[in-house]
């Protein structure tokens, strides 16, 4: 059906009678005196006899001018064609930005096509219709909120980028539901590549999916053997047909091996890679064959083998502690006595049992058991008999006591310790603190106010758990053990004690400087897939020591690699919103009129200039 956005534009048609009037009143002529009109008169007679339709010329000009005015009137009245008379006043547009939208089975990509379609939809909006635009990226992002301004919407739309992550469609739909609840007459369009079944008439999914073929590196894992690392990779085939693929293994970026493997349709094949050099820091597995989503054709494993952590235990033989600490395989425990314990350095962790040296080392973390009151570090008071042992409050340090039944501990005596300003009381009795932890600068310190021998704790199986919890915190591997992340996940880097600078180099080579003030540094920019390198400059009395480690960011293959639409059932029964109204598609026509107008004006000029 045809309608007009700007019916006032028809006022312009008043120029039509004006032009006719002008023609009736004759054209405005330039007055020229000539010696005689004799020759001119003859000329006109000649022209008129040689061009019998010459008289029509003025009429032709008039006709063209009237046509031009008519076209201009139509153009400024902004006519549009539309389908279906009724229309919603509000739209919520959701754009799926998950990694699978990068697939190229829909040209140019699913994402770009969807963005294009949204743009067309925006172009077709009525002036009183408003759109809320939400990008389902790493997290739902309301890009534009209830606006009808097409330029704003298109500008914001252009800024939406596809992610390498799994998207956040569930959270987005919850958000959509919340927004839709406030709107009277709303229609929700989800531009995605999966078949969402909403079960509500005003929810509509626009699916961009051509059943693309895809292969993915599902998993890369490794284990250390005497012959060097052995890599396990799992190659998945989401194409629906058996495929023979070329897979390459790179060690530190250098090709180590290439294999031809057969992957059954909709199945996986495990590939083992041996003969990897032993000091390889990372391996990459590449599928060399092209498919519709190249993003997941690579996978990584960090084989960065850490040196053992050197731990110094200063005690008068504490077998419980020795055993508890050496449970961890990567720890090299060095034991010494009080007499030889001064001026030590070069350890990752110092455990002082019943002793505090005159000057504390500054290059490692510290655990102190049973401090005496002859030190410069802690203010130690009288002994007390702890009763009613409990967590002082839930802090991030409470994780030391995860899986530890501390309420069953029995401690014969402990010493009063006034809590230093860096300290947090983790475990306490009615009479005073039992475990104080905290960070002094980037140095992590834990103080137990009692001797383990004066308690039944070492006899319980909670003790090794407590110690392992503590060592996990005390002996950071730069990163946690989880060096495999998915794009968009928050990566936490544990800063090393005494760290001065932390740099993260992204797979594309960008170097980010991270604030090392806190012991756990989150990185939010790990959205690119690939290997990230983390460098930490640790300053100690021996100078600056730079340690490097790596982490890898992957595509969440389990949710993204299968490019086929599938059926995603969404429970929309609780979704509440207004009435269902059919979609309206609108097409503005003024551009066409404008082009014809231009042609008519050119023709008119030509006729005027050349006479025919």
């Amino acid at each position: 059906m045809l309608n007009f956005l700007n019916p006032w534009g028809f006022l312009f048609s008043l120029f039509i009678p004006a032009i006719i009037l002008l023609y009736l009143l004759k054209q405005q002529y330039q007055e020229v005196k000539v010696s005689s009109t004799y020759l001119w008169q003859k000329t006109i007679q000649d022209i008129q006899t040689s061009m019998p339709w010459q008289k029509l010329r003025k009429n032709l000009l008039l006709f063209l001018q009237l046509l031009a005015v008519l076209l201009f009137t139509l153009a400024i009245a902004r006519p549009f064609l539309y389908r279906k008379a009724e229309n919603s006043s509000d739209f919520i547009i959701v754009l799926d930005c998950s990694a699978s939208m990068q697939a190229e089975d829909v040209k140019p990509t699913r994402f770009l096509r969807a963005r294009n379609e949204i743009e067309k939809f925006i172009d077709g909006l009525f002036p009183d219709q408003r759109v809320t635009l939400i990008a389902a990226g790493y997290e739902p992002d309301v890009v534009a909120r209830r606006t009808g301004d097409k330029n704003t919407l298109k500008g914001r739309l252009k800024r939406i980028e596809v992610t390498n992550g799994g998207g956040s469609m569930d959270e987005t739909l919850s958000l959509v539901q919340a927004i839709a609840r406030e709107l009277e007459d709303v229609e929700i369009h989800v531009y995605t590549d999966k078949n969402y079944e909403f079960g509500r008439p005003n929810y509509k999914s626009i699916v961009f999916n051509e059943n693309g073929d895809n292969f993915a590196v599902d998993l890369v894992s490794w284990t250390q053997t005497p012959d060097g690392p052995v890599i396990l990779s799992r190659i998945a085939n989401y194409s629906g047909e058996n495929a023979t693929l070329s897979v390459e293994c790179l060690a530190d970026g250098i090709t180590a091996d290439v294999k031809e493997i057969m992957v059954p349709a909709d199945g996986t094949t495990d590939v083992y890679w041996t003969g990897i050099p032993s000091h390889t820091r990372w391996v990459e597995i590449d599928i060399l064959d092209k498919d519709d989503l190249l993003l997941d054709n690579r996978g990584w494993a960090i084989t960065d083998y850490h040196e053992d952590n050197r731990v110094l235990l200063v005690s008068q033989r504490n077998i419980f502690l020795e055993k508890a600490v050496t449970l961890r395989k990567d720890i090299e425990l060095i034991k010494t006595t009080y007499e030889q314990a001064d001026d030590t350095e070069g350890y990752s962790l110092y455990i002082f049992d019943g002793y505090i040296p005159e000057s504390l080392p500054d290059d490692g973390n510290i655990i102190i058991f049973n401090p005496q009151n002859d030190n410069n570090f802690l203010n130690v008071g009288e002994e007390f008999v702890p009763g009613n042992i409990h967590l002082s409050s839930q802090t991030r340090y409470s994780q030391f006591l995860d899986f530890v039944a501390y309420d069953d501990f029995h401690i014969a005596r402990a010493r009063q310790i006034s809590v230093p300003d860096w300290g947090n009381v983790v475990l306490e009795a009615e009479q005073g603190p039992l475990l104080i932890t905290g960070e002094k600068g980037s140095q992590r310190i834990a103080v137990f106010s009692f001797d383990v021998h004066d308690s039944d704790i070492p006899l319980k199986m909670d003790f090794p758990i407590l110690m392992q919890n503590m060592l996990t915190w005390m002996l950071p591997q730069g990163l946690g053990h989880d060096v495999k992340y998915y794009a968009g996940q928050e990566v936490q880097i544990q800063s090393m004690p005494g760290v001065q600078n932390i740099y993260v180099t992204t797979p594309s080579g960008e170097r980010l400087s991270i604030d090392p003030t806190y012991s756990i540094v989150p990185i939010n920019d790990a959205r690119e897939v690939g290997i990230y390198r983390v460098q930490q400059d640790v300053v100690s009395s021996k100078g600056t020591n730079t340690t490097e480690h790596y982490f890898a960011v992957h595509v969440p293959t389990q949710s993204e690699s299968d490019l086929r639409p599938g059926q995603v059932l969404t429970d929309t029964s609780q979704y509440e919103s207004g009435q269902y109204t059919p979609v309206v598609q609108m097409k503005e026509l003024w551009r066409y009129f404008a082009w014809i107008l231009l042609a008519v004006i050119l023709l008119e000029w030509w006729v005027y200039q050349y006479g025919y």
């Binding site: 004759k26 054209q27 405005q28 002529y29 330039q30 007055e31 020229v32 005196k33 000539v34 010696s35 005689s36 009109t37 004799y38 020759l39 001119w40 008169q41 003859k42 000329t43 006109i44 000649d46 022209i47 040689s50 005027y608 200039q609 050349y610 006479g611 025919y612």
Partner: protein, 296 residues
């Protein structure tokens, strides 16, 4: 503007004219074809023809030898060296006072030049203005001393009104009987044509020289757009949209007009000279007219 700024002709220029005479193709025509064979009148008598004696003829010219042979009286006819009657017609219509340079000025200059040459040849000369009707008129006179009076007369001529060449010539009553020389200076922009008038002059045994003056703007107009053309003579208005096409057609019309004019003059033995008003009087006299042999 009536083309009268400054002296029409200066002394310098008049001196140059002294050697010139009007050349006429018809030396003797019929029995009255007096012409100026020689500048010294009566000194040489050239025999021309015989005719039978009629009463009243000068019996001194009877050829007695012929009488002896045929016994009839014959009179010898000689080329009479008579002064010619030169009439300079000048178009005084409004259209002549137009153009850049002005056609009227050139017309007056030419009229004065012809008067001067005629007087220098001891001819009798008259100047007649033509408009819708015969206009100002300077009767025949001769003798160089009359030139200044004639020049004053020419200078004082005023342009204006319509042209009707045919009508004006036909109703002109001062032409001397017995033929003569008519010089017609005009732009020929006469809506009733020119043929009748010229034929009439020929009927009166006038040898015609037609000096056709056109302004450059008439030959090649530089106008465009929607124009309201006003005829300076009759104020007739004609609206026209001038496009390159129309200009081409106009030039075609001018060419046709001039060609038909030339044809007419050629077939009727009329001396025809077209000159642009942009041409100087020297150019017209010493180049155009001399080359064509109208003066020598």
């Amino acid at each position: 503007m009536n083309g009268s700024e400054g002296p029409l002709l200066d002394q310098e220029f008049l001196k140059k004219l002294d050697g010139l005479i009007l050349n006429t193709r018809t030396a003797l025509q019929g029995d009255i074809g007096g012409n100026r064979k020689s500048r010294s009148k009566g000194n040489s008598i050239e025999f021309s023809d015989f005719r039978e004696y009629v009463t009243g003829d000068d019996f001194r010219r009877i050829d007695w030898n012929a009488y002896a042979r045929f016994e009839r009286l014959f009179v010898k006819l000689f080329m009479e060296e008579r002064e010619a009657n030169v009439t300079v017609f000048i178009d005084l219509s409004g259209s002549m006072d137009w153009g850049e340079p002005n056609k009227g000025k050139l017309a007056k200059q030419l009229a004065a030049v012809f008067v001067y040459i005629a007087l220098a040849n001891l001819d009798r000369v008259s100047v007649a203005g033509i408009q819708e009707r015969p206009g100002a008129y300077l009767p025949y006179f001769s003798g160089k001393q009359g030139f200044w009076k004639a020049l004053k007369f020419i200078e004082d001529l005023e342009f204006g009104g319509k042209t009707s060449l045919n009508e004006a010539i036909k109703s002109y009553t001062h032409l001397k009987q017995g033929g003569g020389i008519s010089i017609v200076i005009t732009d020929l922009l006469s809506k009733d044509g020119y043929e009748e008038g010229l034929k009439y002059l020929q009927y009166l045994k006038q040898e015609i020289t037609l000096l056709h003056i056109m302004a450059p703007q008439e030959l090649e107009p530089e106008v465009s757009g929607s124009l309201r053309l006003t005829d300076v003579e009759d104020q007739e208005i004609r609206d026209i949209t001038v496009t390159p096409q129309v200009l081409k057609a106009y030039k075609r019309t001018v060419d046709e007009f001039l060609n038909s004019l030339r044809d007419f003059c050629y077939t009727r033995g009329i001396n025809y000279v077209l000159t642009s008003s942009a041409a100087s009087i020297e150019q017209v006299i010493f180049t155009n007219l001399t080359r064509l042999g109208f003066v020598r």
